[in-house]
């Protein structure tokens, strides 16, 4: 597997981001951990002294990003890979329309990614190289009836990543869009801590991390995690609206 020496993981305190950070640290990479939960990040950093750096940050504080990004690149001694894994999925009641929650979802899942990856793109264009991994979701494939803003946030992210790839490929910059199916993280828990009911093909965050890094080091543009979700996606795309409307998920 390819070894990236200097890495930023945004959304590193839990779930898929945490598993990715740890997988990279185990490979010997230097990793900057970025998210809000400082304690959780310190607990990771503790196990990899001198290799993991902790940067508490809320991705909705966009104006902090340029300075923080430059400082992290300085402290890492450069940058080879950035992974944007920060994301939230708010709960909605059946008849709930809630702009506050909508906005928060877009802010974290989409605008935060723009803020971090724009800054990264500027740098990678200058130094002519680098890898960007964006964790989107199969949820962005179609506008299903469930969690409206979440699907929209991921659709926007997927399209943004594709544009970025097209813009940056001439600078030898690799942009990888990751579309996980279901991964066993806090995101799939109900408010009371119980797991949601219908969860097919569930994999662990560690397994997801392994598949994500493998896809990126093989130079994939887009990867479904695990791969079989590609077929589900194809079926979803082919499905006419009059059927799709009637599905309850």
């Amino acid at each position: 597997m390819k070894q990236w020496k200097r890495v930023i993981v945004v959304g590193a305190s839990a779930g898929i981001g945490k598993a990715l950070a740890e997988a990279l640290l185990k490979e010997g990479s230097s990793v900057a951990l970025v998210s809000r939960n400082e304690g959780a990040m310190n607990a990771i950093a503790h196990r990899y002294p001198g290799k993991a750096l902790v940067f508490p940050h809320d991705v909705r504080h966009y104006e902090e990003v340029p300075a923080l990004f430059q400082r992290i690149a300085h402290d890492l001694g450069g940058l080879d890979l950035i992974i944007y894994a920060a994301g939230i999925m708010r709960e909605y009641e059946p008849h709930e329309y809630n702009f506050t929650k909508d906005r928060e979802t877009i802010e974290v899942n989409t605008l935060g990614a723009f803020a971090w990856l724009d800054e990264t793109a500027k740098r990678f264009e200058q130094v002519k190289g680098g890898t960007i991994i964006g964790i989107s979701s199969i949820a962005g494939e179609r506008g299903r009836s469930g969690n409206v803003p979440y699907f929209a946030s991921k659709a926007a992210l997927t399209t943004y990543l594709e544009s970025l790839r097209n813009r940056l490929s001439k600078y030898k910059v690799k942009v990888v869009t990751i579309k996980p199916g279901f991964v066993d993280t806090a995101m799939l828990l109900n408010a009371d801590g119980s797991r949601k009911s219908f969860i097919p093909w569930l994999i662990s965050p560690e397994r997801a991390a392994q598949l994500i890094l493998r896809a990126a080091s093989r130079g994939k543009n887009t990867a479904y995690i695990p791969g079989r979700w590609r077929f589900v996606s194809m079926v979803m795309h082919l499905m006419p609206s009059f059927i799709f409307r009637r599905l309850s998920f």
Binding site: S30, E64, H74, D75, G77, G78, K128, G129
Partner: protein, 517 residues
């Protein structure tokens, strides 16, 4: 595979990479500090003055191509702009690395993620006296500019490197030597005075001969920047040199030829076929070159013209020199170089022409003859290991070095041999003895073994009381550095660093690697 965007590979094998700047220097902070500064001084961090513009970021490399680091590059054109760059560094809490033409092989003019001030645009010749050969230049004036300017008045730079592209600032920063080091000393000995700007903004005028003079020349950009340099060029009465070729059949003969020819040589350089073994171990080609005395050249006005000096654009009459490296690439594996070396030796040995006249530029800048020849070394670039050994132990030491390389099957593709004499400069690399410069091709797969080899070579040098040269170095350790320079020298240097650069603003990847502060 290691994917590093701005440095194809580190000066260290990958295993040893660690975060290097978490608690040192003006800007370094660990994550916690950043957190506190972000939350406590929110406005100051987000304000633009703490940010360097991203479009200043450039992926720089050492000339050998084996070490690289992205940096925010500024190219001032005036002293005022240079001062502003230092101010900017202080404002943004960044370190500064000075850079000339970037012709150092390793990391001497790299500064990872910090400000690099490249002085190539301060390149004006400020004063010239054709009667005395005394010239005053800005630091970005190159050796090439110098000789092209002065030659028609009958002057040649007193000391030049094997390439004409270095700047005078870089040349004084390293205190370069030429193929005439045994006679002419390093370039510093021909400098009459210089102006110097320290990071604190102090401007000094330093005259030849002072204690400060000998400490600053050769200090690799660690104390401040040369801003104006006055030096005396060498009077020549012809654009040609008298060149003689010798073909020592082995290492011992090489030393004999050198000792015999030294008294009657202006320049002397040897090229060793590092692949040869057995009876011909150390077989070499030696080039001697001498200035022509007044009246010898029947057409000096012609030979002293730039056009006469200029290297032919075509090599072999057919291949444009700018793409010659492509034709060398297939040969740059071990077997290929063995053939090249053998052919070079054989053609030299049996060539009927062992005495001829050659233009100064052609003799001095042979390596510029095939532009981009280093690209024939491929992606991983090259490193050079050059050591300077006292004459008493030099032969045995170089024998050990070459034997070791052959045993480890990491044979240098070029091996250049020169004679030196001691000088008074504080951080000098010179000895009363010989140097051997070994060029190694770096690849992803040989990198680790190569660094292990250079560490063994370093041990051999230290045991022989030898020295190293930071302009070429990429592999030395802080311990070896301390050992060859000695504690007395280093503490004297530290005093000066303290005096001129209290906050440690000036640093380079080399200074960090060798822990020079």
């Amino acid at each position: 595979m290691v994917d590093a965007v701005d440095d194809y590979s580190e000066s260290q094998p990958v295993e040893n990479v660690s975060l290097h700047n978490s608690d040192e220097g003006p800007s370094s902070k660990n994550g916690q500090n950043i957190h506190s500064s972000l939350t406590n001084h929110h406005s100051s961090l987000t304000a633009h003055h703490s940010l360097l513009p991203h479009d200043r970021l450039e992926p720089l490399k050492g000339w050998g191509g084996a070490v690289g680091a992205a940096a925010y590059v500024y190219r001032p054109s005036t002293l005022e702009q240079l001062k502003e760059c230092f101010e900017l560094a202080k404002r943004t809490g960044k370190h500064v690395t000075l850079r000339g033409a970037g012709r150092s092989y390793g990391d001497a003019s790299l500064g990872r993620e910090n400000i690099v001030i490249e002085l190539t645009r301060m390149n004006r010749i400020l004063a010239w006296d054709a009667k005395t050969g005394i010239i005053t230049c800005e630091p970005g004036v190159t050796i090439e500019q110098l000789w092209r300017f002065a030659i028609e008045d009958g002057y040649w730079p007193p000391v030049v490197s094997g390439t004409m592209y270095p700047t005078l600032g870089g040349v004084l920063g390293a205190n370069i030597h030429g193929k005439n080091n045994f006679k002419a000393g390093p370039i510093g000995e021909h400098v009459l005075s210089f102006d110097f700007l320290t990071p604190s903004g102090e401007e000094l005028h330093v005259e030849h001969g002072s204690d400060l003079f000998y400490s600053i020349v050769g200090s690799f950009g660690m104390l401040g920047a040369f801003t104006k340099i006055t030096l005396k060029l060498k009077k020549v009465y012809s654009g040609d040199l008298d060149v003689k070729v010798f073909n020592p059949a082995n290492l011992h003969e090489l030393f004999e030829v050198f000792e015999r020819q030294l008294p009657q040589s202006d320049y002397l350089v040897g090229w060793i076929d590092a692949f040869a073994s057995g009876n011909s171990f150390g077989r070499s080609i030696v080039h001697q070159a001498n200035y022509l005395a007044l009246g010898i050249d029947p057409i000096p006005a012609k030979t002293l013209r730039v056009a006469y000096q200029d290297l032919p654009d075509m090599i072999l009459g057919l291949v444009p020199k700018s793409i010659m490296w492509m034709f060398l690439r297939p040969f740059t594996n071990q077997l290929g170089f063995k053939l090249i070396n053998w052919a070079k030796y054989v053609s030299s040995r049996f060539s009927p022409k062992t005495e001829f006249r050659q233009a100064h530029a052609a003799f001095a800048f042979l390596l510029d003859y095939v532009p981009n020849w280093k690209r024939s070394y491929g992606e991983g670039g090259l490193i050079q290991f050059q050591s300077f050994i006292p004459k008493e132990t030099a032969e045995a030491t170089f024998r050990k070095q070459l034997e070791l390389c052959q045993r480890e099957q990491l044979v240098p593709l070029l091996a250049v041999f020169k004679r030196h004499r001691p000088d008074q400069f504080l951080l000098t690399h010179a000895v009363d003895g010989y140097s051997l410069a070994l060029d190694f091709k770096v690849t992803e797969s040989n990198r680790k073994n190569l660094w292990a080899l250079t560490s063994k070579l370093t041990e051999i040098v230290l045991a022989a009381g030898g020295r190293f040269y930071m302009a070429k170095d990429a592999t030395l350790t802080p311990d070896a550095f301390r050992q060859y320079l000695g504690e007395e020298t280093l503490s004297k240097f530290r005093e000066l660093k303290h005096r001129f650069d209290l906050d440690g603003i000036l640093e380079s990847e080399l200074s960090k690697r060798l822990e020079i502060r």
